[in-house]
Each structure stands twice: as C-alpha cells, then as structure tokens.
C-alpha cells in the first residue's frame, strides 16, 4: 500500500486528479469543434434551418466546456514545474519545444478565433465566420498533435541522447514521430470524436423521450448514429494497432493489461480475473485459450511474456491496468452494439420511436468520457514505475517541496474542481434539457437570456429576425 502522506504519492495523486479532470473537456471540445464546423458547413451548403439551429444549440455548450478546458489546462502547464521540477529539468530539452509549439501553433489560434466564432456573427461575414469555426477545430487537433507527441515520447522515447543525466535531442523527427505516436494520436482523436458523438446521440435521445421532437433533434440523432457506425469500427482497428504497438515497445504493460503472469506460447485471452500481485497469480480467471496471442501477435502460438519475467519493482500496478483496460474495451463493445442497433432501427424507420433504444442511447451518453479516462489510466499507470519509459523513474522526477504543500494544494484543487466543474456540468445539463429551439417558432422560447458573456434583449432579437441572412446572430433569447 502506498503511504498517503508521501510526497511522491501526493504529487502523483494531484497530477492524476488534475489531468483526469482536464482531459474530460478536450475530449469533448475536440470532437465538438469538428462537429460545429460540419454543421456550419452543411448549413452554408444546404441552407437547411435544422443545421443552424443545432449550431446555435451546441455552440453554447461548447463555450462553457471550452472555458473549463482552458482554466484546467493552465494548471497543467505550471504543474510540471511545481510538482515535477526534476522531470522538467531532465526532459526540458525534448519536451519543452513540443509544448512550446503547442502554445504557439494551437492555443493562440483557438483562443483568438473562438472569439470570432462566439461573438463575431454581426461583425464578420459568413465565410469568415465559417473559416473561424474551422480554424478553431483545426487548432484543437494541432493541440492534440503536440501534446500526444510529448506524451508518446514519454512512453517510447526516441531520437535522444543522455549526457550527465539530462536528455538532449538528436533527431526531432524521431522525437515527434516516435514509435507509439501515430497510434496514440489516431486512437485519441477518434476517442474524442466518439465521446462527442455519443453525447450528441444521448441528448437527442433524451429530447425524443421527453417529447421535444423537432427536425433539429431528428437530424442530430441520425447524424450521430451514422457517424458512430463509421467511427466505432475505425476506433476498434486503431485501438488494436495501438495494442500491438504496446506489445512491441512496452511488453510489461501489455502483460499487465492482459493479466499474464507466466510467459506463454499461445497465450490465452483473459476475459475476467482478479489479479493478485502478492501471490503473482489470477483468481477466478475466465480465459479463451490461444486468443491472446492471436490478437496481439496475429499467431495463435506466439510467445507473450508474462509479468514474472520482470522483477517486482519494474512492474506497473497490475490490477489498475488490467481493469481500466477492460472498462475501456467493454465500453467500446457497447458502443459498437449501440451504433449498429441504431443503424438497423434507422433502416426500419423506428430510430426516433423505440423507447428502449432511446434509453440505451441516453445511458451511453457519458461512456465516452469513462472510456477516455480508463484508457489513459491503462496507458499512464501501465508505464509505471517510469515517467520516461525505461529511462527515468517517477520517484526521481519530483520537486524539492514538502508533502504538506503538495497535500494541501491537492485538497484545494480537488475542492475547486468539484465546485467549479459540477456547476459547469449543471449549466450544461440545463442547456441540454432545453434542447435546440427552432428559430422559426421563437414564441416557444421568449425568456430573454444572456449567453456567452453578452446579453441581447427582445429588441435585438426582432432586429435579427429582420436580417434573415444572418439568423445566428440571434443569440436568440434563450
């Protein structure tokens, strides 16, 4: 058991807590930014009101989520220094420029064009507004590119040399495009798309269940289902390829994910087990023979090394890795079922009326976030006891600060995040509950309500109705 008053434990807890909280927001905004760009593009192309209604609905949720992502992200850029100063010093030559490029190529781009996206409807033309939405969407992807390059380098370091205990870059291309980066990048980007898609489908399902059916809601549901039918299978392929890369580069992590203690030729696929780290075995194991080797090595008789090949202090915490991996994969399978059940109902014309299916969609709403966090737990806990895999141990990465300071700040961060982000979630749910309102029936929704930091009154709204070429402007009441 870890000593909870130990500085290392507290620093890890603080990092895990703040980054797990942070990743929730980008997981949603990366996908939502692309979705918004698609909606605005479709609206400009087809002129269909439903797309515009959806854009106006989701942009409010986007603004709140993005704001929370920004403030929780600023924390991350300072935490490397406050709690992990040794790590910063030793890896700064490699990771510093990658994070620097993230700020320079993505953060400023997102922040600046977000302003036009949210507040610029009356101030720039339609095309420029659409361009701003696209730039924000691209910015979120650029940001993911750099941060995942940095993270992947910590898993599969390449292109470096070590002199006097400090990392130096030899080849930037090898550093950025390190062996695990392409897999991690695609896996994560698809994960954000799926997270968003399942939230969209869940909101549509909720609105259909509660009788708030309108063309925009139907569009939302159909787009979501078609999208998930394409992306869930793609994600399964990406995840599989990522797993193969783990087998090649981090075999001990793979052994923990699979719950393999012994080295097998023709390893089984463990479906269920209770890994016991002291006895070095699984309890209540349920496994399919040979399938494990077939999946990771594409050969039923391939050898997969078990955890016992590594000394105990070189192994990651097995149970966390084993279970978080299964949670992620389990959700993936549920997503696959939901997507194709939806496709079948769509074909038979029952997509918007089958209550049981709509309830399933509603339940699936938050699963993308859970899968993302479980996936990151698998990856990051699986890398332990290292921060830079095989080269720098987590225990050597911390700052010369006391456990008290880290513990106190952890408590304050936890309190702040819980208060602030549950309030944010509350406001988002309120918006979702209301649903997209068709602007051609404004009488359904008369309460003058400010959004995104500015307020429009009824007079303004009438003004917008007159200029039908610019209807979004109508940050319409409500």
């Amino acid at each position: 058991m870890p000593d909870i008053f130990d500085m290392l434990f507290l620093a890890r807890a603080q990092f895990a807590f703040t980054i797990a909280f942070h990743i929730i927001f980008p997981s949603f905004t990366i996908g939502l930014a692309s979705y918004l760009a698609m909606l605005e593009g479709l609206w400009l192309k087809t002129g269909k009101e439903a797309y515009l209604t959806l854009y106006r609905f989701w942009i409010k949720i986007f603004a709140i989520t993005f704001g929370m992502g920004v403030v929780s992200g600023v924390v991350m850029s300072y935490q490397f220094g406050t709690n992990w100063s040794r790590f910063s010093e030793v890896t700064g030559n490699i990771l510093g420029p990658l994070l620097g490029y993230e700020v320079l190529t993505a953060f400023f781009l997102e922040a600046s064009f977000l302003a036009i996206m949210l507040f610029g409807w009356n101030r720039v033309g339609r095309k420029l507004h659409f361009a701003s939405t696209c730039i924000v969407a691209i910015g979120t992807l650029i940001s993911a590119f750099w941060i995942l390059a940095a993270n992947s380098w910590m898993h599969t370091p390449a292109g470096y040399e070590i002199r006097d205990g400090i990392f130096y870059a030899i080849s930037w291309l090898e550093i950025i495009f390190n062996p695990s980066f392409p897999y991690r990048f695609f896996h994560m980007v698809l994960a954000t798309y799926l997270t968003t898609a399942f939230v969209v489908v869940a909101v549509a399902a909720y609105l259909l269940i509660s009788g708030k059916k309108n063309p925009a809601v139907i569009t939302m549901m159909k787009m979501g289902i078609i999208f998930t039918c394409i992306v869930v299978p793609l994600q399964m392929i990406a995840g599989h390829e990522h797993g193969v890369s783990v087998f090649e580069h981090q075999p001990v992590k793979l052994a923990a994910m699979e719950g393999h203690w012994e080295t097998h030729t023709g390893a089984p696929l463990v479906l269920f087990a209770l890994p016991d780290e002291e006895k070095e075995k699984n309890h209540l194991e349920l496994a399919i023979p040979k399938l494990g080797s077939l999946i990771v090595a594409h050969d039923i008789n391939a050898e997969i090394r078990g955890l016992k090949e590594w000394p105990q202090e070189e192994r990651p915490p097995v149970a966390i890795v084993f279970w978080s991996f299964r949670i992620m994969v389990g959700i993936g399978i549920l997503m696959l079922f939901t997507a194709f059940a939806g496709l079948w109902l769509f074909k038979t014309g029952k997509l918007d009326s089958n209550k049981n299916y709509l309830r399933l969609c509603l339940l699936m709403g938050p699963t993308g976030f859970i899968a993302v966090i479980a996936g990151w737990f698998t990856a990051e806990v699986g890398r332990q006891p290292y921060t830079v895999y095989g080269l720098m141990k987590t225990i050597d990465s911390t700052s010369p600060v006391t456990a008290n300071s880290v513990g106190m700040s952890l408590i304050v961060f936890a309190f702040t995040y819980i208060v602030v982000f549950s309030a944010g979630l509350g406001y988002i749910l309120k918006l979702m509950n209301k649903g997209p309102v068709d602007p051609s029936h404004p009488e359904t929704d008369f309460e003058s309500k400010p959004v995104l930091g500015t307020r429009l009154d009824i007079g303004d709204y009438e003004h917008q109705l007159k200029i039908s070429s610019h209807p979004i402007t109508g940050e319409k009441p409500g």
Binding site: V74, G81, S88, G100, V103, F107, F119, N122, A169
Partner: protein
C-alpha cells in the same frame, strides 16, 4: 552557431511574452478587480462584455510564459516553480474561478448569479495579488543551491512581497479602468474615469515607495542601479535616469488625459507606457539573471538545438499571433453597447 546568442534572444522573447501577458490580462483582471464597485448590475454586464471575446487569448500569454520558460530555460523553470509553489497555486485557483465566471454568470440566476460575480471579482484580485507576490519575491532574490531551490515554502512571503502584491492589484485596476474608458459611454465612462484617477494616485504612491525601499534596503536590485546605500555610483545611475524621468512624465500625461473628457484612448496608452517603463526598469535590475540573483540566462538555457528548433518556429509564428490577435481586437473595436447588438 556560436555567433548567435540564443539564450539572449530567448530571454527577450520571454520578456515580450510576459509583458504582453501583464498588459493584456492586466486590463481584464483589472475589470474583475473593479467589478463589484460598478454602480449598476447592467454596468457589470457591459464591463464583462468588453473583455469576453479577448480574455482567453490574453490568458494564453501566461501559458506561453510558463511553457516558454520550460522550453527555453528548463533549469530556471525547475528551480523557480518550487520556490513560488504557493503563490502559483493561489494564482491558478483564482484564474479558474474568474475564467469560468464569464460563462457561468450568464447561465446562473439569483443567488448563484451573485456568487459568480464575487468569484469573478475575487478570482481576478487574488490572481493579480499572487502575481505581485511572485514579483516581490523575485526582486528580493531566490535562494538556490546547485541550481535547485533550497529555500523554505514561505520564502516568498515578506512585507515587501505583500506590498508588491497590493501594488499590482492597483496597477491592474488602472489598466482595467482606462480600458473601460475606451469601451464605455455615459455614466459608466464617468465612473471609469473616477476609478482611473484613484488607481493612478495609488500606483504613483506605490512606485515612489518601491523606488525608496529597494535602495534603502540595499538589495541587489538597487546595487544594479549603482546604488549601494548610502553611496551612489552616478556613472551607472545617470545613464539609467531616463527610465524614472520618463515614468514621471507619463504619470503627468496620464493625469492630464484623465482630466480631459474628450480623450478616450490616451489614458490607456499612458498607463501601458508606465507599465512598460517599470518593466524595463525591472529588466535592468535582473539582467542577466533569469532567477535573481542565482541563475543567469546562459546557465539556465536549454540545449542550443532545443532553443534553435523552437526559435525557428517562433520567429514565424509570433508575428502571425500578434497579427491575428490585433485583427480580433480590431473586429471587436469601438464602444460596447448591448442595445445596439454587440453580438
């Protein structure tokens, strides 16, 4: 390449980034500081609307400051952050509360609406105060051993850093109120001018006190201006004299522009100049140290190929960033007027 002094270039880039941050987030933090004192709740809506499109971009300069320090001077980043652990923590928490208040305040009603008003105010004030604490701690110097922080968790807390914390709150209030003079009309404009006058008076007093305290305490910062109390080396001080003289001139011009009802942009410009001169003075006090007075920019520099890689991109990207930031400010130019459809 030996001929290019990469650490010096990076120090200059970081200095620009930090100044951009102080200037830009300074005025929107200033608006948060002044927030509860505005005459009416509608005024608060306007105040927030005047910075809602730009605050996120403004705060990104802080991320560039932190990220840039990590990238270009990892040793300084690793040594500095633990030494200012607590004020950085206060600042980050405060920035969370104020950042989310932009969206939440408009979604909330009744009591919660007022709670987020307070969160915006206290978040802005504590963030500004914490930055002032960090500034004060740096002026007094940070104890390092073998390039690592070797002091206590409360080294940053001194009467002087407390004072600089308060001073920066007033400084940001000055930037915020003069920004509001540009963006508002009628009663709110009148009120902003009053706030600017009060803030200006306090800021001038603070500048005078700092200019007296630092030499009297004979801190290293004063020595670098040629002052070894009670001796003064005029050959060092005289060439630097234009800085305080120009600061005094700017203060006078600011006072003049505030009394002129027709001038809307000048007060903000002169406030910026006062900040810029103070900042240049600070650079003279610190250079060539990046952590005063223990670690120089050359000792803390990242490997040349790391600095060079990021520099290549920065030289292209930073002008682009400045250009589209300016474009966004231009798009949202003019007075904020809710009834004319600011959206």
């Amino acid at each position: 390449m030996e001929s290019i002094d990469l650490p010096l270039i990076w120090a200059a880039i970081l200095a620009i980034a930090v100044f951009m941050y102080v200037l830009l987030d300074g005025f929107d933090l200033g608006i948060g500081i002044l927030f509860p004192f505005a005459p009416k709740d509608e005024d608060r809506d306007l105040m927030m609307a005047s910075v809602a499109p730009v605050w996120d971009g403004n705060e990104t300069w802080l991320v560039l400051g932190g990220g840039g320090l990590f990238a270009a001077f990892p040793k300084a980043y690793a040594a500095l952050m633990p030494s200012i652990y607590m004020p950085v923590g206060f600042m980050l928490i405060a920035l969370i509360f104020r950042g989310v208040a932009f969206e939440f305040r408009f979604s909330a009603k009744g009591v919660m609406h007022r709670v987020w008003n307070q969160a915006f105010h206290w978040g802005s004030t504590v963030a500004a105060f914490s930055q002032g604490l960090i500034l004060g701690a740096m002026v007094q110097g940070i104890a390092l051993e073998d390039g690592r922080f070797a002091g206590g968790m409360f080294d940053w807390l001194t009467p002087f850093s407390f004072f600089t914390g308060c001073a920066l709150v007033w400084g940001y209030a000055l930037l915020g109120s003069t920004w509001l003079i540009i963006k508002t009309e009628n009663e709110l404009l009148h009120w902003s001018r009053q706030m600017a006058v009060v803030s200006m008076i306090v800021v001038i007093i603070c500048l005078v006190i700092v200019s007296l305290v630092v030499p009297l305490m004979d801190w290293t910062a004063a020595n670098r201006w040629g002052i070894h109390y009670p001796n003064i080396d005029w050959s060092i001080l005289l060439p630097l004299a234009p800085i305080p003289v120009l600061t005094a001139v700017c203060c006078w011009l600011l006072a003049k522009s505030l009394s002129d009802r027709k001038s809307h942009h000048k007060p903000f410009i002169f406030s910026i100049l006062i900040f810029a001169l103070g900042y240049i003075g600070l650079i003279f006090s610190f250079y060539p140290y990046i952590i005063p007075y223990s670690l120089t920019i050359h000792d803390a520099a990242a490997a040349p190929n790391s600095q060079a890689l990021l520099l290549a991109g920065t030289l292209i990207l930073l002008p682009m960033i400045l250009a589209y930031t300016a474009y966004v400010y231009w798009v949202f130019r003019g007075k904020v007027d809710i009834h004319a459809g600011y959206h």
